[in-house]
């Protein structure tokens, strides 16, 4: 590992100023939150930053707010902290399950949703789950703050939409209505300590009769980036999420996938399994939404 400098700004403005200063000098700069991807990459000499800008001391990146209309999750909050918040787990079970699949308990003490998103791995578990629940990314930079939908944030394998001098502050999520719920499933050969061969996040909103009003389906590890699959959502909307609808959505996911054959699975295998995951995750989201009506959330 090469020698590097470390700064830990305590406000968004300071962080933006640090990033701008180093961007101007052309230094290789990396934002550090939990570091669970970054440090491994630095040890493996995949990347060799000169400057690490630690954003964990910035208040806004640690803010967790469960508003009546909107939820805000700071980019530097460890996933273990999120999973200890019972109300958040109740509201977004799929997203939190995705976070809980990443790494071991020890890793989750540091790993963040923001980091998983910025790392932009095709197999990142929380990304399809975030797309499913309609996350907006809050980005700070020299020109102030901007927001963009999560499905636009990841632009390629290991690449995100942040420009030089910008960093991810947090995630905004519409608060799920009553009779809405999400779910995330991934496929791995092992039970844990593994990486998705395919993943699928689903959120559904049901009306009073149990008909699906809204749906979002996203798939991961079967394309260079996690992708939203509108055809799968369309197959669900207007149905009772019966077996036929689930099968149609599954087929749409298999069609939308453009996987590769590699050490983790073949094209055929991934195509097929991502459909299976869609079917199973949708059923879980549906059952959760049906159960939620009594909560009056």
């Amino acid at each position: 590992m090469e020698a590097f400098a470390y700064v830990a700004p305590s406000s968004i403005d300071e962080a933006v100023a640090e990033l701008a200063r180093h961007a101007k000098k052309g230094h290789r700069t990396q934002v550090l939150a939990g570091g669970t991807d970054l440090l491994v990459q630095m040890r493996g000499a995949d990347i060799e930053p000169r400057i690490l800008v630690d954003i964990k001391n910035v208040a806004e990146t640690n803010r967790l707010h469960l508003g009546n209309n909107e939820i805000f999750i700071g980019a530097a909050i460890p996933s273990a902290v999120l999973n200890e918040n019972a109300e958040l787990v109740e509201l977004l079970p799929g997203l939190l399950e995705a976070a809980d699949l990443i790494g071991s308990t020890q890793i989750q003490g540091r790993a963040t949703l923001g980091g998983n998103l910025c790392n932009a791995s095709p197999a990142g578990d929380t990304i399809p789950a975030m797309i499913a629940v309609g996350v907006s990314c809050v980005i700070a930079g020299g020109k102030g703050q901007r927001e963009m939908p999560v499905e636009k944030f990841v632009v390629g394998v290991g690449r995100n939409a942040l420009e030089a001098g910008e960093f991810l502050v947090g995630l905004k999520i519409p608060r799920p209505k009553s009779r809405a719920a999400d779910a995330y499933l991934r496929f791995t050969p092992r039970t844990e300590m593994d990486i998705a061969v395919a993943g699928c996040g689903v959120s559904v909103t049901l009306d009073a009769k149990g008909l699906c009003k809204e749906a979002r389906v996203a798939i991961g590890a079967v394309a260079p980036t996690a992708i939203l699959v509108p055809a799968a959502a369309n197959a669900l909307i207007g149905t009772t999420l019966d077996d036929a609808a689930l099968a149609a959505a599954a087929a749409a996911c298999s069609d939308a996938a453009s996987p590769i054959t590699d050490k983790r699975g073949t094209i055929d295998f991934r195509r097929k399994v991502v459909g299976v995951l869609c079917r199973r995750a949708t059923a879980i989201a549906r059952d959760r939404a049906l159960a939620r009506k009594v909560l009056g959330v």
């Binding site: 590992m1 090469e2 496929f187 050969p189 092992r190 039970t191 844990e192 300590m193 593994d194 990486i195 061969v197 590699d262 050490k263 983790r264 699975g265 073949t266 055929d268 295998f269 097929k272 399994v273 299976v276």
Partner: protein, 755 residues
């Protein structure tokens, strides 16, 4: 089935003596030792799977500040022309020397071509990058079919197939052939009512020990070196290092660290001669440790194999004939466990007519190393799968079919000699009677059974016993403790001497402070080294009787040793108060000095060990994923010395065998580069992948060991492969011949059957 002998300690599970240091992080493993002025060694590895080394220019690296030494094949004496490496890590010393450092050819991706020692790891990495190697890249030979094909590119132009009926003058990638036969197989198959056939392929798999190879070597100006390393065999490491470097054994001292797993893989020398040579050149201690990636790419996994089996039986299940054809990947150099594979394939059965044809084949992959019962899991996976198919054809219970044909005492083993007392039938009956065999399966799940076996070895061992001044006991022996042998030695010493377990400490001596012992391998340590320990303890007892006789002023033959004390023979001298070991030790100065004994031996009579495994698996028909619902490992231990450790061996072997069966495999690209050189994608099971493994220890004592020990370390990994495959067959109705039973393979088989 166990003899009723009233042991006080044998068969119990006292606290392990190394436990506290290991769980608190105090234990010193291979990379934990640091010496003043030490520098760091790193290896430059071939980026090609097959290449001629035309030129190596180390001048830029040598000139770099902070670089103390650079070595290549030219710094080594010529590889020895004669001699083999003993134990389970096969091959010639010369090939080991070439494997440790490539000379004219790099034979696999990751093969060492140069090494440096530098002030820091970073400088060492920079120095490696500054070494220029000119390669002539050759076509790699990456699998058995390609290597055995006529006209295949040759790894070694001087390799002529050994053991051919007619000596060949044409070089070949087939290093060795083994042919075994008995009776008349044609006649046997004619007599058969049912014949089953199968063809099975298994890719290379790694032992997956947690601790990567590490060592530190310190060479003085007289050329004498001390090496600390993690090894299963510090005496063997000394011998091989001496031969590879053409050194006097007396100039090398090896000290074994604690060891974080080996499973056979740490009987093979990789880093130590490099560290010695670098340290000699640099005149400083040189520390070397492999990364996990290096462990995967450059240390010996076990062979990838291809086996064909044909078995015939009469309607009543009597086996009439069997043939086996098998090819084992050796990797870059000869030394694959094809021999034991061929010798074990039919071992559980009474067979009048059989034929076995085995091939050991060079391919451009790492030289294979020993892995727990080397060779047997692959060949027995094939046979035990075929026997399962046969039981279905015959509509017989698979355990009954095995019981009908099971070898027993007096059966002429397929590998030659007549079996002594063995426990195969006892294990089969125990499986039949086990509640896990008849318990109802959940919907869609399957159950499979299979038999496992290992010969177990004796070889050379030494031990010393010192009695301290208060009657406590120190045992010194020369086998690194990889599976709990210190606890077993303490139990056997305490049982023999009649003292409490807590009174005995066992330590592993270095190569200068204790007598020679062969490796901790071949499931031999508790058997052979245990035998030496017991013998040395018996000598202490004899000495104690003599000391008591002196103390009492009576004849030695009037003194008995009972329950850890000297007592006068009954009827005479009844007034004398018994003397404990502590009493005698406290008085030793007056009776002849400290009590000390030793024993050394070549242990004969190692007891073969059989097992039966029962696997319950569930298959997700939509994804091909397999869940292990239950697993039962039943094995004849002869006698369990430390019961919990024996259970741990059974459970550990099951876990490794299931990983091999379900997900583990070396995945290569077309250039011969391993694509999954890390634990993320080389998928060993994690704890949550496995249920609690049930064990049942069967005890059919080995009459050739003072406590009946057979050796238990290796047999446990043999049966899980076929037990899992047979359970999948039971669950989905499809025989998948190849391993691993990874989700893509299982799903493809389900899809193919549905079409």
């Amino acid at each position: 089935m166990s003899e009723s002998i009233d042991y006080k300690l044998v068969g119990t599970s006292p606290v392990r003596p190394d436990g506290v240091d290991k769980v608190t992080g105090r234990a010193q493993y291979g990379a934990d030792l640091n010496l003043p002025n030490q520098i760091h060694g790193k290896v430059l590895r071939s980026p090609h799977a097959h290449a001629r080394i035309k030129r190596i220019d180390t001048s830029r690296a040598t000139a770099m500040p902070g670089v103390y030494a650079v070595i290549t094949g030219e710094d080594f004496p010529p590889p020895p022309e004669h001699g083999d490496v003993g134990g389970e890590a096969g091959g010639s010393i010369g090939d080991h020397a070439r494997n440790i450092m490539a000379r004219d050819k790099a034979l696999y991706h990751g093969h060492a071509v140069a090494a440096v020692a530098a002030r820091s790891l970073r400088i060492a990495d920079e120095a490696l990058a500054a070494i220029e190697v000119e390669y002539e890249v050759l076509e790699p030979v990456l699998d058995l079919d390609a290597a055995m094909a006529p006209g295949a590119p040759l790894l070694d132009e001087n390799c002529f197939t050994k053991n051919l009926p007619e000596k060949s003058d044409k070089p070949s990638n087939i290093a060795e052939v083994m042919l075994l036969s008995r009776g008349d197989v044609d006649k046997g198959f004619e007599e058969a009512d049912v014949i089953v056939e199968g063809e099975y392929r298994i890719p290379m798999a790694h032992q997956g020990y947690i601790e990567p190879h590490a060592c530190i070597a310190n060479t003085n100006e007289a050329g004498q070196s001390t090496v600390w390393c993690c090894t299963q065999a510090h005496f063997d490491f000394r011998a091989i290092t001496a031969k590879v470097l053409n050194m006097n054994v007396a100039d090398l001292k090896f000290i074994a660290s604690e060891i974080g797993g080996g499973f056979g893989g740490k009987t093979v020398v990789y880093l130590e001669p490099l560290a010695v040579l670098l340290s000699r050149k640099a005149r400083r201690p040189v520390k070397m440790k492999m990364t996990r990636e290096e462990v995967f790419r450059a240390t010996g996994p076990t062979s990838g194999t291809h086996c064909k089996i044909k078995v015939g039986a009469k309607k009543d299940g009597t086996l009439t004939a069997a043939t086996a054809w098998m090819a084992y990947e050796a990797g870059a150099y000869a030394g694959a466990p094809m021999g034991p594979g061929a010798l074990t394939v039919f071992v559980p059965y009474h067979l009048e007519n059989f034929k076995v044809e085995g091939y050991e084949v060079l391919v451009n992959k790492p030289k294979v190393g020993a892995y727990r019962a080397p060779g047997a899991p692959q060949s027995m996976h094939a046979m035990e799968s075929a026997i399962d198919d046969l039981a279905r054809e015959l509509n017989m219970d698979p355990l009954d079919l095995r019981l009908k044909n099971a070898a027993e005492e007096g059966t002429r083993a397929s590998y030659g000699p007549k079996f002594p007392v063995i426990g195969l039938k006892e294990c089969l009956r125990a499986a039949k009677a086990h509640p896990n065999y008849t318990r109802a399966l959940p919907e869609g799940a399957g159950r499979g059974v299979a038999v496992g076996f290992w010969f177990n070895f004796g070889l050379q061992s030494s031990a010393e016993v010192h009695v301290n001044e208060n009657g406590t006991v120190t045992v010194v022996e020369g086998n690194p403790d990889i599976g709990g042998s210190r606890a077993s030695m303490c139990i056997m010493a305490a049982e023999t001497l009649g003292v409490p377990y807590e009174s005995v400490r066992t330590l592993i001596g270095d190569t200068e402070s204790t007598g020679f012992s062969n490796s901790t391998g071949g499931s031999r340590t508790t058997f052979a080294t245990g035998m030496a320990v017991v013998r040395a303890c018996e000598d202490i007892i004899a000495q104690c009787r003599a000391r008591a006789a002196v103390t009492w002023g009576i004849d030695e033959d009037q003194v008995l040793w009972v329950d850890g004390q000297a007592i006068p023979a009954s009827g005479v001298n009844d007034e004398l108060k018994p003397l404990s070991l502590a009493d005698i030790a406290e008085n030793a100065a007056k009776t002849g000095g400290p009590l000390l004994s030793r024993a050394s031996l070549t242990a004969k009579g190692a007891g073969p060990s059989f097992s039966v495994n029962i696997a319950d698996l569930q298959v997700d028909r939509d994804t091909g994923k397999i869940d292990v619902l239950a697993f039962t490992a039943i094995q004849d231990a002869g006698r369990a010395i430390h019961k919990a450790y024996v259970e741990g061996q059974l459970q550990g072997g099951a876990a490794q065998g299931l990983g091999w069966a379900l997900n583990e495999e070396y995945i290569y690209n077309a250039d011969g580069i391993m694509e999954n050189a890390g634990f993320l994608d080389y998928r060993m099971p994690v704890a949550s992948d496995l249920p609690m493994i049930d064990t049942q220890i069967v005890e059919v004592p080995n009459p050739r060991h003072p406590y009946g020990v057979r050796g238990v370390g290796e047999t446990p990994i043999v049966a899980p492969l076929a037990a899992a495959a047979n359970a999948v067959r039971d669950a989905i109705g499809i025989r998948i011949h190849d391993l691993p039973l990874s989700p893509p393979r299982v799903l493809a088989a389900l899809d193919a059957a549905a079409d």
